[in-house]
């Protein structure tokens, strides 16, 4: 028995919750690492500015963590509420990483609480800094475990089906599925990259608003370096993901690339619009798709012609692919120019228009995260468990899902507005100049 409208609204509500959650979750995974790096740099260089960076980021981080925690709790329960049949099956096969994720989350929550409420309490900054390691590790590990669950949905294995019954379940085989390495790596590095560019955007914005403080210059350079490293890593791992798709989920790659006919020497399609089966106004890079898929310019790439109509994902995912890739490349360029320009003394990186580009980099990176997730998730339609369970079979049969969608949409709107208002007020009321002054008067000039 399938309740069509419940399926539709369940998909809508899941998409809404996840799209909202990943903004805060990405920041939640990446920012602890940034705080740790800042604290460490401050400790090594004996420079109070970096210590203050860690403190100010941590303060803002609390707000995003709060929203991340509550929306994470929401999606955690919604999985069972909206997809009970799927969760019943997943419970038997993929419960282990789900379970481990809560431990990672627990670990992070405990040490974040300690870190936040022990400023200046320990004699050495080093002791305080050590508290950040479990926070950053816990944050990243929870991303690792939850991404493993998602990877399983794309490449389910670790069990046999005999007469419709699941037997011979191997939890570790299910965890270390073929989709796992590229997914986990891509999620982690893009979270670090996005967090670096979001924080850099704030620094850039303060400078545009007239703050001449050296604090912002230091933070911008540090973040641009981190962003450069992780955006390059994201591109490299993205390339591996392409190879994974060609091997295991060729219809996702073919749909994302509008690759209709199976052929060798396949070219990569960038941009363009689809008119029936004809691609218009696109940039085609010869051989690039064959290289992306198989590391070989002559290799044959499976096209959409090889699949049944009902097994194909929607073709609009190509636009999502374009958005993700072009923003990723753009951010590599922006950070590369900044870091090289800083070393070579190029003046344009200090100009107002370049600052505006840096400011735009924050929201753009978040858009790329959203587009990437939509591409990955819509790209595995019509399956909830690839090749095994179609999405409608996993959904709830209960009514009122549409009402719940309205309810949650209202809550997320309140959370979004609340968190933005609080964050803006927090930093407007207490700019860096004032915090440094306060700190000097508190400590009588002796900072570290």
């Amino acid at each position: 028995m399938i309740n069509e409208s419940a399926v539709y609204w369940s998909r809508a509500l899941t998409e809404l919750t996840l799209s909202f959650h990943i903004i805060y979750a990405t920041i939640g995974v990446g920012v602890p690492l940034m705080i740790m790096i800042a604290q460490w740099t401050g400790y090594k260089k004996n420079d109070e500015h970096y210590i203050l960076m860690a403190r100010r980021w941590a303060r803002g981080f609390v707000i995003t963590v709060a929203v991340g925690v509550v929306t994470g709790t929401a999606i955690g329960l919604q999985l069972s509420l909206l997809w009970p049949n799927f969760m019943q099956l997943a419970g038997q096969t993929i419960a282990l990483p789900l379970f481990m994720e809560t431990f990672a989350f627990f670990f992070e929550a405990i040490f974040l609480g300690i870190y936040l409420y022990t400023w200046d309490r320990f004699d050495s900054q080093k002791k305080h800094m050590l508290l950040l390691i479990p926070v950053a590790v816990g944050a990243s590990m929870s991303a690792v475990f939850i991404t493993i669950v998602n990877a399983f949905m794309n490449a389910p294995r670790g069990f046999d089906i005999v007469d419709g019954e699941l037997v011979n379940i191997q939890p570790f085989l299910a965890m270390f599925n073929p989709a796992m390495p590229t997914k986990v790596a891509h999620v982690l590095v893009t979270a670090y990259m996005t967090s670096a560019f979001v924080l850099a955007a704030i620094a850039g914005f303060r400078m545009l608003k007239g703050s001449k403080h050296v604090y912002h210059k230091k933070s911008l350079l540090l973040l641009m370096k981190i962003g450069l490293i992780f955006s390059i890593a994201a591109a490299v791992i993205g390339d591996f993901s392409g190879k994974y798709l060609a091997e295991y989920q060729p219809e996702k790659l073919a749909a994302a690339e509008w690759h209709f006919e199976t052929e060798g020497k396949a070219s990569l399609v960038l941009f363009g619009v689809l008119d029936g089966e004809e691609v218009k106004y696109a940039i085609k890079i010869p051989y690039a798709l064959s290289i992306l898929a198989h590391f070989n310019p002559n290799a044959e790439v499976t096209g959409l012609d090889q699949f049944e109509e009902e097994d194909l994902p929607p073709l609009y995912i190509h636009y999502l692919f374009d958005i993700m890739v072009s923003i990723g490349m753009f951010m590599v360029l922006v950070s590369l120019l900044y870091v090289v320009g800083k070393a070579r003394g190029w003046q344009f990186i200090h100009s107002r228009w370049y600052r505006w580009i840096i400011v735009a980099g924050g929201p753009l990176s978040i858009i790329a995260i959203e587009a990437g997730w939509w591409l990955a998730e819509v790209g595995r339609q019509p399956w909830i468990l690839y090749g095994l369970m179609r999405t409608p079979e996993g959904a709830t049969t209960s009514d009122h899902v549409d009402l719940m969608l309205l309810l949650f949409a209202g809550v997320y709107a309140v959370l979004a507005v609340g968190s933005i208002v609080v964050l803006v007020r927090m930093f407007k009321k207490n700019p860096i100049e004032r915090e440094i002054e306060d700190r000097h008067s508190e400590k009588g000039g002796d900072i570290l």
């Binding site: 789900l98 431990f103 939890p171 049969t397």
Partner: protein, 341 residues
Amino acid sequence: MTLEILGISVLWIFLFGYVIVASIDFGAGFFNAYSLLIGKNHILTNIIKRYLSPVWEVTNVFLVFFFVGIVGFFPQTAFYYGTILLVPVSISLVLLAIRGSYYAFESYGTRGHIGYTLTYGVAGLLIPASLSVVFAIAGGGYVDLIDGQPVLNYWTLYTSPFAWSIVVLSIAAVLYISAVFLTWYAHKANDSEATKLMRKYALVWAAPLMISALGIMYEMKSINPESYSHMVNLWWMFAISAVLFIVTVVLIAMRKKYGLAVGLLIAQFAVAFFAYGIAQYPYLLYPYLTIYDSFTSTQMAIALVIAFILGLCLLLPSLYLLMKLFLFNKKYVTGKEDNHA
């Protein structure tokens, strides 16, 4: 001990952990809001903030742990409870979302905003009320199977005296647990005003707690005779719980040994909670689902138990560190040190 019993025991312990820490948390939020309304917030706010600040997100993890764990150990619960609880649990989630985020907004953003504080306090009482409905549903009588799909009968549920008694009990328990704990905490902080006030609340909420608990026993007789007879067989556990309750109330009334009172209170609830749980055995959802027909595969169960033990090795020392630094740190509790970021 079979793996099924081990699994459900572990989950029940974590659920109990959530009941205690969440009760302290929810009750504290309510007392804070109430004190603002009657103009006594200068007495309570500091002591409550001081306790809540470092632990607010840890509380939430206990809940997450429980619902992830139950799907892991008993995957069929996802099918039954997932399908029937869409509306009640979504409402709890909305309340949790408001409450969880507003705490951070309030303490880091705009301190002392009345709207925040009141919302926070009221949501804190509605959450246990909305979550405790699940206990009533688990007892049976509110779920029909239609075409093999479980459907919740809202009308029977919302007109059921049994369900409402559970709601009343959960609210009374939240306020009582929280008041006893905060009496002790305020006493430790040498804050005699707050101790006095919280002590009064603890005594006020003791009576409704007992009355609603007895009411539930009475109604169970007709609703679910099977677990009622189990409960009668376990009378000695409920008797122990009652004795612990009386001793706690006497200690509080005589202004003696608040620390011991908190210990006895936890023991009282632990005994009652486990007796209630044992009386439900072997059902997870009466009469459709038992812990045996819904258990996960042996391989997964063993993997989960190993993960659980390793997780505890990480968790217990960390929790100990958290308590040592805040709850049992004289300087922090008495307010000589704040040091928040």
